[in-house]
Every structure is written in structure tokens, then in C-alpha cells.
């Protein structure tokens, strides 16, 4: 079987759902090897999963956006002779894989939602209006980033994978910029939310300019539904909610089972990030709002009346 290399820029104590999905997809394509910036033994503990044979890492931890991650990847490709190299579609992983593709003189396909045994890659393009398949030329390795929610995660605990330490160390140094390179001046962790991650959530409740600074009712609804909270750019630009919550062309793309859109007009850039949701419910005061063109169920009304009533009814049914 051919080797598939999966790149996780870093691993925390547990695999996220999308990391599990990626390992599941990789398992359908060949023998799976993981390469990561996280230190080897710690990484191996996290990916003790049946399909994973080995974990490749550097001599010490290597943190994105360190270009040493590309050296690590390149060395791991040589070691495994991998014909498929996959990563999540984060910015840092895309940067690393894009560079790797140049070094391997091969093609890269980003934002895949599926890859079959013939290495045909499916993706959704032009704001979700087309589905395309593409293939990297035969004889060249396939390099691809994969979107969350594309495959059903199904992994089984296994033996700890073999840990292989490669002779690569971090290259970002404290005086990097003075020596002609790049230097990290400051790292601030983004606040982790108690709610499910936006890109992985089964349900997303999103608010726009219509919430007028008050996400309270939407957060209550999200709590009832076990949902993540999303937002339009108008709401993130206004500073009512963190930019990380932005759904759309320049925010995140979500494909949940249910997307509740409240006080969002539904501009094309917003729709680009949510119109592959299975079911869309929209609440908007304006009956001409474009979001109603794609909603499965739409309510012309005031979100401050409608949303609390949904919450109340859900609580009543639960009681």
C-alpha cells in the first residue's frame, strides 16, 4: 500500500473532530504516517489510532509559522515515499503545504471535501455554486488541504505508533529579523470557547448587524441547541464578537446540519461561508433580504421577539 502523510502543525492532548476526520480519510488512501511540529512522544500518545503507523517530528517542538516545518515535511516525504500529503485547511498548514508542493515540483489542491482511490479530489468552488474534481498529474505526489466536516470521522484506538525524530530544528530565532529572517515578537492564545468549534459544529447560530450589539439571545439559543455562535462581518467589524466568529468568504466556511441566520442580510460574501449547510433557518425584519432566497424556513420578524420564543419553546419541550 502506498504511504499517506498527514500534517498536523500541532497537536493538543486530544484529537479534534476534524483531525479525526482527516486520519479517517487518510486511512482509505494508504498506510498513514503523521508528521507534526509537536514533540514526537507527546504526539504519538495523541495519535494512538489504528491506521497510524508512525509519527515524524523534529528534534524539538517546531511552532508555526516556522518555515522549518517545510523542511520537516520534506524530510518526512523522503523517509516515507508518501504519494499523498494531506493537512487541515488552516492558514499555517496551507503555507507549509504550498511550499512543499514547490519543492516536490507537484500540484496542490486546497479545500478538498473528498479524495477517492484514484486520487481524484472533490471541492466546492465559486462560493459553493460549483463542485469540481481535479487530479494531480500521474507520477507526482498529491498535496492537498482538507476542509472539516467532509468525511465521517471513524477511528479506532490502536497500538502507539513508532516515533521517528528527524534532524530538523526550529529556524525562527529571537534575533531572526535582525539576521535577515523572520522573528516572533509575541504570541497570544485566542480565547478558547466552551462551545463546539465553529467549523466542526453540527449547529451554528449566527447573528449580524441586526443583533445591534447584543448577542445575548443568540447565545442562549446556542446553549439550548449545543451550537457554535457565528457572525456576519458587519457584526465582527462592529466589535460585538470576535473576528474568529466570522462566517463567509473571508471568515470561516461552515457546513453544519443546521444554520440559524438572525439579523443577517445574506450578502454573497456571507452566503459563501454557509450555503452548504443542510438546513438554513433565517430570521430577518426585511422580507426582501437575500438570505430568504436560500432559507429552508424563513421568518420575517424581529429577532428579539422570535429568538427568545424559540429558546422558551425548546426549554418547555425539554422539561
Amino acid at each position: 500500500m502506498s504511504a499517506v502523510l498527514v500534517f498536523f502543525e500541532s497537536l493538543s492532548e486530544q484529537l479534534t473532530t476534524s483531525q479525526q476526520e482527516l486520519l479517517t480519510l487518510a486511512g482509505t488512501l494508504g498506510d498513514v504516517h503523521v508528521v507534526t511540529g509537536t514533540e514526537g512522544a507527546a504526539a504519538a500518545e495523541v495519535v494512538t489510532v489504528q491506521s497510524v503507523e508512525s509519527v515524524y517530528s523534529g528534534e524539538t517542538e517546531i511552532l508555526a509559522p516556522d518555515p522549518a516545518l517545510v523542511d520537516l515535511l520534506e524530510t518526512a516525504v523522503q523517509e516515507t515515499s508518501a504519494s499523498v500529503i494531506l493537512s487541515p485547511d488552516t492558514a499555517d498548514a496551507t503555507d507549509a503545504l504550498a511550499r512543499l508542493a514547490v519543492r516536490l515540483d507537484t500540484g496542490i489542491i486546497t479545500d478538498a471535501v473528498g479524495i477517492d482511490a484514484q486520487r481524484r479530489v472533490t471541492k466546492s468552488v465559486l462560493a459553493g455554486s460549483y463542485t469540481t474534481t481535479a487530479q494531480v498529474d500521474e507520477g507526482r505526489p498529491l498535496v492537498a488541504t482538507v476542509k472539516p466536516n467532509s468525511v465521517q470521522a471513524s477511528i479506532v484506538a490502536g497500538h502507539p505508533p513508532e516515533v521517528v525524530s528527524l534532524p530538523v530544528g526550529p529556524s525562527l530565532t529571537a534575533d531572526g529579523a535582525a539576521n535577515g529572517g523572520v522573528e516572533v515578537l509575541e504570541r497570544t492564545p485566542l480565547e478558547a470557547s466552551e462551545r463546539p468549534a465553529l467549523t466542526e459544529a453540527r449547529v451554528v447560530v449566527a447573528g449580524g448587524r441586526g443583533v445591534d450589539g447584543n448577542f445575548g439571545p443568540l447565545e442562549e439559543l446556542a446553549d439550548e441547541l449545543g451550537a457554535a455562535v457565528g457572525a456576519s462581518r458587519a457584526a465582527t467589524d462592529a466589535g460585538w464578537i470576535d473576528h474568529a466568529a466570522q462566517v463567509g468568504q473571508t471568515g470561516v466556511t461552515v457546513s453544519p446540519q443546521l444554520y440559524v441566520s438572525a439579523g443577517i442580510s445574506g450578502a454573497i460574501q456571507q452566503r459563501a461561508g454557509m450555503q452548504t449547510a443542510q438546513t438554513i433557518v433565517a430570521i430577518n425584519k426585511d422580507e426582501d433580504a437575500p438570505v430568504f432566497e436560500i432559507a429552508d424556513f424563513g421568518v420575517v420578524g424581529d429577532l428579539f421577539e422570535v429568538v427568545p420564543q424559540i429558546v422558551e419553546e425548546l426549554r418547555r419541550r425539554k422539561a
Binding site: P65, A134, G176, V182, V281, I283, G301
Partner: protein, 271 residues
């Protein structure tokens, strides 16, 4: 500011792309290529232009801002728009061999064009390449990293704020889990998001002034490449239009819309 940086001219090359207008219907042709018969300057490329102009306006050294685009002949309109917004000069690389180019082909062509612009009479200056976060049609965001790799330049992507401080580029960016502040020595490639600034609109005076600014057109051979160098490594096999989403039931709230939504969710089994 170190002596070297203060006196050295800076040349900022901003990459701009001519793309189908996302407000209109976009489609693939029978050859499985995006229909590029009409287009606009990608909105996402107004942010790098603005970033370049702000750096120029804040600098106490000579700064030249060039706009560079690779695309069909029509892409000249994107280059002209960039001149109206404020670029000093513009370059258009256009060649039949580039039709339908993939990421590898596009970044190879751009890299050669950038080297050509850099060699274009200002070898003594410092260089900075600024790009948008992604193209509005391909949306991969992979070109900046491929350029940095091909040109051997420093790379910082997804900048939400950037400035030149003491001759180096200081950038704020967000990764999946943290916010970072980075410093990069020039020459560098930096991609900027739509969070980075508020792009300006060209006024009448700027539109008139743009008519006098130079726009240079190149073929692949002009930048020293043959067709084989930009051959695609990935091929599009199929393009299927998704059935457009159709509107479902729309009701007007009569005091019970919340209940109706819950009924709908229960019926759809999404609760």
C-alpha cells in the same frame, strides 16, 4: 531607523488579479475553466494596495508602488484600476500559455515577473511584495507561500495589521489558535486580509492622473519563461453546477414564529 534603511529606496510590488465579479453569476466554460470574459479588480486586492500606499505615505524614504498582474488581455483594466487607486506604475503579464494555469503555473509566472520588475532599474533598493489573502475566484490562498518559496524570500501571511518599523516589516496575524506579532526582514512576501485596512476609492483627480502612469505589458518570453515552465501540475476533470438552493417556506411573524421554527426543526429532525 538604521542608516541603511533610511536612505535606501523601497519598491513595493503589489499583486492584483482580474476576477469575475462575485456579485454576478460566475460560471465555468466547456473547457472547465472559469469564464473570464468579464471581470473586475478583485476586492481582496484592494487591501494590499491600500497597505502599500499607507506604507508609502508614512515613510521618510523614497517608496515606489507597482501593481503586477498575470491574466488575459482584459486584466489590463485591473492594472488600470490599481493605477487609479494610487500605484505609481503597473505590469501585466499575459500569454496564451497561461490560460487555465494552476497554482504551480501561476506562482511560477508571478515569480518570474517579480524578478523582472525587481531587475527593472532599481536593483539597489529594498523590496516588499504585498498580496491579498486569496484570489476571489480560486480562493486557495496558496500563492504567497509558493512565491516566497520560489523567490527565497521571507513570508508572512494573513496580516491583519502591518507597518514598516526601523526598516523591517512588523505584522499582526491570527493563526488558528493564537494571535501573533512577527517581524520580517526585507525582502519579504506578505499577504493581507480584509481586516488590515479600509481601502480608498479613486477620486476624479486620481483617475485623470492614472492616464499618465506607465503600464507595461509582457509575454512569457519577456520574463524569460517558456510554456513548459508554467504547465499545470493539476488538472480539473469535472465542473458541476450545484443545483441552486431554492427558497423554502417564508412566513411573517404573527407572535408565534418562534413556535413555528421549533415545529419545523422537529419535523426536519435537526433537534
Amino acid at each position: 531607523m538604521p542608516e541603511s534603511a533610511a536612505g535606501t529606496p523601497l519598491h513595493i510590488i503589489t499583486l492584483v488579479k482580474w476576477v469575475p465579479d462575485s456579485q454576478l453569476e460566475r460560471r465555468f466554460t466547456e473547457e472547465r475553466r472559469i469564464d473570464r470574459s468579464e471581470g473586475i479588480l478583485s476586492e481582496l486586492d484592494e487591501y494590499p494596495l491600500e497597505a502599500a500606499l499607507q506604507i508609502k505615505e508614512a515613510a521618510d524614504r523614497e517608496v515606489r508602488v507597482s501593481a503586477l498582474t498575470v491574466g488575459p488581455a482584459g486584466a489590463a483594466t485591473a492594472a488600470k484600476k490599481a493605477l487609479q487607486i494610487g500605484a505609481d506604475d503597473a505590469f501585466l503579464l499575459s500569454d496564451d500559455s497561461l490560460v487555465g494555469a494552476d497554482l504551480a503555473g501561476t506562482s511560477t509566472a508571478l515569480a518570474a515577473a517579480i524578478e523582472h520588475v525587481r531587475a527593472d532599474g532599481d536593483t539597489d533598493g529594498e523590496h516588499l511584495v504585498i498580496t491579498g489573502m486569496a484570489s476571489e475566484d480560486g480562493e486557495s490562498g496558496a500563492v504567497p507561500a509558493q512565491l516566497a518559496e520560489r523567490l527565497g524570500l521571507n513570508l508572512v501571511t494573513q496580516a491583519t495589521a502591518l507597518s514598516l518599523e526601523e526598516g523591517r516589516l512588523v505584522v499582526t496575524r491570527a493563526s488558528a489558535t493564537e494571535q501573533q506579532r512577527l517581524a520580517a526582514a526585507l525582502p519579504a512576501v506578505v499577504s493581507v486580509t480584509d481586516q488590515a485596512n479600509d481601502p480608498r476609492y479613486p477620486n476624479f483627480k486620481a483617475i485623470m492622473a492614472a492616464k499618465k502612469k506607465p503600464l507595461t505589458s509582457w509575454s512569457l518570453a519577456d520574463v524569460g519563461l517558456g510554456a513548459a515552465a508554467v504547465a499545470s501540475k493539476a488538472t480539473v476533470l469535472t465542473t458541476d453546477a450545484r443545483p441552486p438552493r431554492t427558497a423554502g417556506e417564508i412566513i411573517t411573524d404573527e407572535g408565534d414564529a418562534g413556535l413555528k421554527i421549533v415545529e419545523f426543526l422537529a419535523k426536519e429532525r435537526v433537534l
